[in-house]
């Protein structure tokens, strides 16, 4: 669907609070913007974002038309075990983009 940049520290200590940064390329077309002929560009936004740590749901967000294009999100998790972080963005057509990143806990 789109290109995403995921920033997760690869090696951390157990119990560390780690910052996760995610950036995805998406137009976030609001549906309120007219084209040169006065017709509105159809709305096309990412509606939700979720992050799971192994299978545990650790973060989610709702996105709205006022969010900028190429939305950037940053949040923190407590690194308890070596595992996989799964990030998913869902758009208006219910299509989901999934990206994963490994996190290694010492």
């Amino acid at each position: 669907m789109a290109r995403a940049l995921v920033n997760v520290p690869t090696k951390v200590k157990r119990g560390d609070v780690v910052e996760i940064k995610v950036l995805i390329s998406h137009p976030m077309e609001t549906g309120f913007r007219p084209d040169p002929n006065g017709k509105f560009y159809p709305r096309d936004i990412l509606r939700s974002f979720a992050c799971t740590y192994d299978s545990e749901h650790v973060f989610s967000a709702e996105l709205f038309p006022a969010v900028s294009a190429n939305p950037f999100l940053s949040f923190t998790v407590v690194a308890n075990q070596t595992g996989v972080l799964t990030f998913s963005w869902t758009d208006d057509k219910d299509q989901t983009q999934v990206q994963t990143a490994k996190i290694e806990v010492e």
Binding site: R3, L5, N7, K21, S25, M28, S68, N70
Partner: protein, 260 residues
């Protein structure tokens, strides 16, 4: 005594000339556009994980390896790894183009390759793919000094660019130099006026919520001056780009830059 007036006038003209020359920003005072940004925006540009321009550069990387056109060749088929072959290339553009005997900028050069080598239609100005390729090629020169070529054949074009730079235009009757040489560091509305060094293009501009080339930025300034902007690819723009490259000689390339 009768001759005193013309001599005085001449002296005045000479003094004005000297003043105009002084108005040019001294080398030690030169600052990149990023120096005028908020700390948050600077941080956004510095970190490749948060710089939205990197999304475009990564698109460019995959385009670099994509075979296209009648010749079914990719950029990589001729140029190999961009990390080595394109190192420092963007810092040298615009350069002189032997075929047309005119200067050409990086985007023009990409399209020329596309037409002549790949046998494909040129990419439209400001198209996603053209910006992505130029961001990817520009990225290979990041941190290197802007190094406009010492090509005598470029001199007349560069001089025309210099003249355009101080040419008043539009209903507001402004020249580029009036803001960016004489009044940099002050504010236009709430926005600080930078020195207009073209060392980070193509840029991700937060206001645009997308990537844009130097020519888009120049058109933007021209409409701000209530002037009729030159069309994309106009000779005037290439000449201005040449002068701007000369003006930013030695300043490190920041591509892909983030600007507010």
């Amino acid at each position: 005594m009768k001759s005193a007036a013309p001599v005085g006038a001449l002296a005045l003209i000479a003094a004005l000339g000297a003043f105009a020359a002084l108005a040019q920003i001294a080398e030690a005072d030169r600052k990149s556009g990023s120096a005028f940004m908020s700390a948050e925006t600077q941080q956004m540009q510095r970190d490749d994980g948060t710089n939205p321009g990197m999304l475009s550069a990564l698109d460019g990387e995959s385009l670099w390896k994509t075979k296209t056109g009648g010749a079914a060749k990719s950029c990589a088929d001729c140029h190999g790894e961009a990390q080595t072959s394109m190192k420092g290339v963007a810092a040298r553009y615009p350069a002189f183009n032997e075929a047309s005997q005119t200067p050409i900028d990086l985007q023009g050069r990409i399209n020329q390759c596309r037409q002549d080598q790949q046998k494909d239609t040129p990419l439209a100005p400001e198209s996603r793919d053209l910006l992505a390729l130029s961001a990817f090629i520009g990225l290979q020169s990041r941190g290197m000094p802007t190094a406009p070529p010492d090509d005598q054949r470029l001199t007349p074009f560069r001089e025309r660019g210099r003249a355009l730079w101080s040419q008043r235009m539009g209903q507001l009757n402004f020249s580029c130099a009036q803001c960016h040489e004489d009044n940099w560091g002050k504010h236009l509305g709430s926005a600080p006026i930078p020195q207009a060094h073209a060392n980070a293009y193509p840029i991700y501009r937060l206001e645009w919520q997308g990537m844009g080339s130097l020519q888009r930025r120049l058109r933007n300034c021209m409409s701000g001056m209530r002037a009729l902007a030159f069309p994309y690819g106009a000779q005037e723009f290439i000449e201005l780009e040449l002068y701007l490259a000369q003006r930013a000689r030695g300043m490190p390339v920041e591509t892909p830059g983030v600007r507010p």
